[in-house]
């Protein structure tokens, strides 16, 4: 489901004297349906960069990223938008929503975007919120006022409410208590079982061990720093 070949990435900081920071070189990765792969490596080694490149958020300098048959590095924006709507889910560490929109709407939105009827979208969103132990009294409120752990779970609910065939998970269990962490691991396991290809960043080693088939150390893709 995910194929990455010869992928390179650097950032050029035009406003800081044109400094070029190379982040990835010749990255390779292949994730099959039903497989969960953890990206590892120390902070700054490029885990998040690689994940964001699969999401289409960062541009590639060279190489290829194929997700469900679409080459992210070459696809026009609307192809990527379609892929994100139908195929590719992403749970980031940050919740970014229109202020004042009720939580249940935030979670239902990916379903509405797929053209699912509002009633069904709402009930599926509610079921997911309930499963993630978001108190019912919060469903009608905007998540912008929630605690970090609650926001994180809203984000997860959004990412799992539609059975995306490909999932990108950035620290999905960080800042969660044991009970909710167990729920999230369960959700990931279910996604794997239904055949989703999953790439994740987990600092939580126990979780990683419990859920992942393989680990890829991105340090191997880190270019030697130019002297």
């Amino acid at each position: 489901m995910i194929e990455i070949e010869n992928l390179s990435k650097s950032f050029t900081l035009h406003n800081q004297g044109g400094a070029v920071i190379a982040v990835l070189r010749d990255a390779h990765l292949r994730v099959l349906p039903g497989e969960c792969v953890a990206l590892t490596g120390q902070s700054g080694s490029g885990k998040s960069t690689l994940m964001r490149m699969i999401w289409g958020n960062y541009l590639a300098d060279a190489g290829m990223i194929r997700v469900a048959g679409v080459d992210i590095t070459a696809a026009p924006p609307r192809e990527i938008i379609r892929l994100r709507r139908e195929t590719l889910g992403y749970v980031s560490q940050f919740l970014r929503v229109v202020p004042r929109v009720p939580t249940v709407q935030v979670v239902a939105e990916p379903l509405l975007a797929l053209g699912i009827a509002p009633d069904e979208a709402q009930s599926r969103a509610e079921a997911m919120l309930a499963r993630l132990n978001i108190p019912r009294r919060l469903w009608g409120l905007s998540p912008t006022t929630f605690s970090g752990g609650e926001q994180q779970r809203v984000n997860i609910a959004r990412g799992f409410v539609h059975p995306f065939p490909v999932l990108l998970l950035d620290e999905p269990t960080a800042s969660l208590d044991a009970r909710n962490r167990a729920v999230v691991l369960e959700l990931i396991a279910e996604a794997r079982a239904r055949g989703a290809a999953i790439v994740g960043i987990f600092h939580d080693e126990e979780a990683r061990a419990a859920i992942c088939d393989r680990e890829i150390d991105v340090t191997g893709f880190t270019p030697a720093r130019a002297a």
Partner: protein
């Protein structure tokens, strides 16, 4: 499927001063294109040319395959009141302040031949509801409305004929932040439910991030960068875009 709007090498000058130049892009059904840039970057000129308010000097604007620059004025006007809509930054520019809310919403229907008062009024009532204005306000004039309500009324007035393509010029500018949020949410819902294609000009990158699928960054009349909204904002390539993004607090 083909693009709803295809723009090829569009250019417009004001005498010696450049408005915009060499602008090309495709807009597909259901897509929201944001145009960002500072004042004077040419984004409003571009929007004006696209909507037919300004005459471009060069290039082509193909709407559903037909060059709008080659259309007659009556044809363009017919498009403007049926398949297109234009939401102005200042509701006063887009509303008739001396006409009731119902009359404002009904005008486009009447302009395309609606001649049944009861049906026009029912449609106006329905649309006021969709933009969260109480039906009891239908006979009030926009003057009696708050800024946010006026803007929502302008949106209702524009969308009542079910357009395909909506041009928006800073639709949330001049509104309080909390009012902006409500309007953004409303717009997102309408865009999704009606499958609208939108060209939105804004200098507010946060608005662009929340509404636009794609972004075009303009400077000195030229498009200097375009791509997926979050890609342009999170991994800007051009020096100017990097400066623009880094100048804003937390988008």
């Amino acid at each position: 499927m083909s693009p709803l709007l295809r723009v090829e090498s569009l250019g417009k000058s004001y005498g010696a001063r450049l408005g915009c130049a060499e602008v090309s892009f495709d807009l597909w059904p259901g897509e929201v294109l944001g145009i960002v840039g500072e004042s004077g970057s040419g984004k409003s000129t571009l929007l004006g040319c696209l909507a037919g308010h300004l005459a471009a000097d060069s290039g082509r604007i193909l709407y559903r395959g037909r060059d709008t620059r080659a259309m007659s004025e009556p044809e363009r006007r017919m498009l403007a009141r049926t398949e297109w809509a234009f939401v102005h930054q200042n509701p006063r520019d887009g509303l008739r302040m001396g006409v009731s809310a119902g009359g404002n919403v009904g005008e486009r229907l009447m302009a395309v031949g609606a001649r049944n008062y009861g049906q026009i009024r029912a449609a106006a009532t329905d649309w006021l509801g969709r933009v969260e204005i109480a039906a009891t306000r239908i006979d009030d004039r926009p003057r009696q409305f708050s800024g946010g309500m006026q803007q929502r009324l302008q949106i209702a007035r524009n969308l009542v004929t079910g357009p395909r393509l909506v041009f928006m010029d800073e639709p949330t500018g001049g509104l309080d932040v909390s009012v902006q949020a409500r309007l953004l949410d409303l717009l997102r819902g309408l865009v999704r439910d009606m499958g609208l294609s939108v060209v939105i000009v804004t200098h507010d990158l946060a608005v662009a991030r929340l509404l636009a699928d794609r972004l075009m960054v303009m400077k000195d009349g030229h498009v200097i960068e375009q791509g997926l909204t979050d890609q342009v904002l999170d991994d800007p390539q051009a020096a100017y875009t990097q400066l623009l993004v880094s100048s804003v607090l937390q988008v």
